[in-house]
């Protein structure tokens, strides 16, 4: 309601009702005789049965007219033109088929928009899309332009709702904020400084979608881990077809939820998952993830045990190139030895070295410390199980600022990761020969993690990858509740209601004053 003051007219109903009640009490007049009036009364007797309902109809007609006037006034457009900001969801989920199966959400939204623009030819309208989040059309009085740009938008990609709302918010902060019209099923525009109307797009049909596809190397031998998640409102299991560069690898049956697969993937670049079967939204039935292959890593090892576990493990790693001192390397491993000068490297791993030699905060060297906890989520300790690890001796080091304690004992941190002299340092207070770490599978994982950590380039093959997935909100067929388009849209216009009021008043006049 753009004219809440019109409600004040409701008080007019009080005198109307009073007038109705008073009018029913006819004025008395004493006459010489009712003889001559009896004929009129006889004519009236025939209609007296209808007198009460006619009175009531008269009252209802007046009250109806009053209500129509009130509503008409409340829907009367403001003087002059109004500026509207139309936030049109152009994400992939808008391509979902509605329950009727005849049109998509986007088509329904465009129909709503067209009707809205037709009903407000005098207003200025700006158009903001969500995928990409952009001001597509600035405030213009040309509805055809707005509609043409809106029709050119193709539902695709994840919606950048937050960014789009920021665009809208900037418009709402203007001196004359526009009125926001949201044409989306999942954008919640609350909290903005503009008055908001929400178009109704209608519910979509049954939908199942892939909400997660993550691929990463499980080991250096081609084994990959695929994390797959499927959500939807269709009962029964969903079948997902996995392929690499278009070649089907495996078909997986999932009863919803998530699943972690370990597969030996063939050579290829992209893993695709395709949901078999038809549903409302095709955009979320397919997901792709790039296979990230690790690059080769140049490693310089300084150790006093050239034939130790560490040298053997690095030597066995297929992606490690041993480098000589004096050259620039990706990973510098200091196993009990601090070389001078220090080779150039982005990553440095130090094991069993006095922390003072590295400039770290000094700590005691303890015997047989017990590991109380470790950062299993850190990339360096992924899959590294230190449960039951025996350590003969270890330096205790203080946790530096900006760093992270990787392994902690009752005496303090035994391992930290921190920026160090322009490098990234991973410090272990114990050497490989000072514990039984080298005898466990955890050691192999640790070495593999170190290599991945030091791998050049932004790509982290250990991190899962996924491309172009829709958010679960977009996959959901549910629609946020909305108040519908503003009254000047497809509903009765204010002038129509005013016409209704006029017709009711004429009807009341016929009822009351044209009676015989």
């Amino acid at each position: 309601m753009t004219h809440p003051e019109a409600l004040a007219l409701v008080v007019l109903a009080v005198p109307v009702v009073l007038a109705y009640l008073l009018r029913r009490r006819l004025q008395r007049r004493v006459v010489s005789s009712v003889l001559l009036y009896r004929a009129l009364s006889r004519e009236r007797v025939a209609s007296r049965r209808l007198e009460w309902p006619r009175h009531l109809l008269s009252l209802l007609a007046i009250l109806g007219a009053l209500a129509a006037v009130v509503v008409a006034l409340s829907r009367r457009p403001e003087a002059g033109s109004t500026t509207w900001a139309v936030l049109l969801d152009s994400s992939a989920s808008m391509g979902a088929l509605l329950e009727s199966g005849e049109q998509t959400r986007m088509e329904a939204a465009l129909d709503e928009l067209e009707g809205f623009l037709r009903s407000r030819p005098e207003d200025r309208v700006a158009l903001i899309s969500t995928s990409p989040a952009r001001l597509q059309v600035g405030a213009t009085g040309d509805p055809a332009q707005v509609l043409a740009v809106a029709r050119a938008l193709v539902p695709a990609g994840p919606g950048e709702n937050e960014l789009a709302l920021q665009v809208v918010s900037s418009l709402c902060e203007r001196a004359e904020p526009p009125t926001l019209l949201v044409l989306s099923h999942d954008i919640d525009p609350t909290g903005l400084g503009c008055p908001v109307h929400r178009g109704r797009l209608g519910p979509v049909g049954v939908n199942v979608g892939i909400t997660a596809l993550l691929v990463r190397e499980a080991d250096a031998l081609g084994l990959a881990e695929i994390y797959l998640a499927v959500e939807g409102d269709r009962p029964g299991p969903a079948r997902v077809e996995l392929s690499v560069d278009g070649e089907v690898v495996q078909t997986v049956t999932m009863a919803g939820g998530e699943r972690l697969l370990q597969l030996a993937l063939p050579e290829g670049e992209v893993v695709s998952a395709r949901l078999l079967g038809r549903d409302a939204l095709a955009a979320d039935d397919r997901a792709e993830a790039s296979i990230r292959r690790g690059q080769r890593v140049r490693v310089a090892l300084f150790t006093d045990r050239p034939d130790g576990f560490l040298a053997s493990a690095l030597g066995a790693h297929p992606r490690v190139d041993r480098a000589e001192s004096g050259t620039e390397v990706d990973l510098l491993v200091l196993d009990g030895v601090v070389p001078e000068p220090m080779p150039t490297a982005r990553r440095v791993v130090a094991l069993g070295i006095d922390p003072t030699a590295l400039g770290l905060s000094p700590g005691p060297r303890v015997r047989r410390p017990e590991v109380s906890r470790w950062e299993g989520e850190d990339p360096l300790l992924r899959y590294v199980d230190l449960e039951g690890l025996h350590i003969e001796r270890s330096w205790v080091v203080s946790e530096p600022s900006g760093g992270l304690a990787l392994v902690v004992s009752g005496a303090g941190p035994l391992s930290v990761r921190a920026p160090w002299r322009g490098r990234e340092l991973a410090y272990f207070g114990f050497g490989t020969h000072e514990s039984d770490l080298g005898l466990s599978i955890a050691f192999a994982h640790l070495v593999a993690n170190l290599v991945e950590w030091a791998a050049p380039g932004p790509v982290d093959p250990g991190a899962p990858s996924s491309d172009g997935l829709l958010s679960p909100d977009e996959t959901s067929p549910e629609e946020l509740p909305g108040a519908g388009l503003p009254a000047a849209g497809a509903q009765l216009g204010w002038w129509s209601l005013a016409l209704v009021a006029l017709v009711l008043l004429v009807a009341e006049w016929v009822l009351r004053w044209r009676e015989p």
Partner: protein, 293 residues
């Protein structure tokens, strides 16, 4: 009640019309059915003891030796009974119907008294005495005016009974009823029946503007002043048209009924002044006539 005294001077040249024989109790100038002393010879008959010897025609006795007395047509005055309806319904209109009827009755009484007719004037249904004033000369006119001025509209009553008590038992050569006849059908029919039983009855129908052009601009609840009956009636042009149609039909039926009962119906509506009525309308209707005196 107000009486227009000036009127009566202008109507002094009138007298009551008497199409039949007069039966008034006094000698007058109107032919009566009686034979007795008079100016116009009528017949002879044999002398009976006790007859006035002055009526014996001695010339016949001398020639035929028969004692015969002369009979003459006897001239009597007119016995007129004026009855005014003073019920509540007569208190409406502008001027009031009762005032209008009183003026007419006084005028007719004056006309009759000036010509030595025996005039009986009475009212019924009004507030005040239901007295009847009778006279045969102008000396009674003041009493009649006093009676009329004392009467105010009453609450109603049984017009038929009142009329019968005033006219039926006393007879009369001409009975003039001044009434609006606004009563229920049975009462009105009975009243007309009593009137019809009189000799040469005249009905001066008195209606006012409240009956002829009532205010029907809006729906009202009308209340009968005599019976208290209430009726809700509509208003507007269509109501006025319907009322006019009904009034016309009612008056037409009344005329037809009066004609059937040999009642001389004369409309005496208040829209026409008493002067015009006495001087023009009633004369044309042969209720009055020009004086031959």
């Amino acid at each position: 009640m107000q009486v227009d005294h000036d009127l009566f001077q202008q109507i002094s040249g009138l007298r009551l019309a008497a199409p039949g024989l007069a039966t008034g109790p006094r000698q007058g100038d109107r032919r009566s059915p009686f034979l007795g002393r008079g100016m116009e010879f009528a017949d002879y008959r044999e002398y009976r003891p006790g007859d006035d010897l002055r009526l014996v025609d001695w010339n016949v006795y001398g020639r035929l030796q028969a004692v015969l007395v002369r009979l003459f047509h006897e001239d009597r005055n007119l016995l007129v009974r004026l009855v005014v309806d003073a019920t509540g319904s007569m208190g409406f209109g502008s001027p009031r119907k009762l005032d209008h009827a009183g003026n007419l009755a006084a005028g007719l009484a004056l006309v009759g008294l000036m010509h030595r007719d025996t005039v009986s004037l009475g009212c019924f249904g009004g507030q005040g005495p239901e007295a009847v004033v009778t006279g045969h000369d102008l000396g009674a006119f003041a009493s009649m005016l006093e009676l009329l001025e004392r009467v105010e509209p009453g609450a109603g009553g049984e017009a038929r009974r009142a009329l019968r008590s005033q006219v039926a038992s006393r007879g009369g050569d001409r009975v003039v009823l001044l009434s609006d006849l606004l009563m229920d059908d049975e009462e009105r029919e009975g009243l007309l029946g009593v009137l019809a039983a009189c000799r040469r009855p005249v009905l001066l129908h008195v209606l006012g503007d409240t009956e002829l052009q009532p205010d029907l601009d809006r729906p009202r609840l009308v209340v009968d002043v005599e019976t208290g009956e209430e009726l809700a009636v509509p208003g507007g042009a269509s109501a006025r048209q319907a009322y006019a149609r009904f009034l016309e039909a009612w008056l037409h039926d009344l005329r037809v009924r009066c004609a059937a009962l040999r009642i001389h119906y004369v409309p005496a509506f208040t829209a026409t002044s008493p002067r015009d009525l006495l001087l023009t309308v009633l004369r044309k209707a042969r209720v009055t006539e020009g004086s031959r005196a």
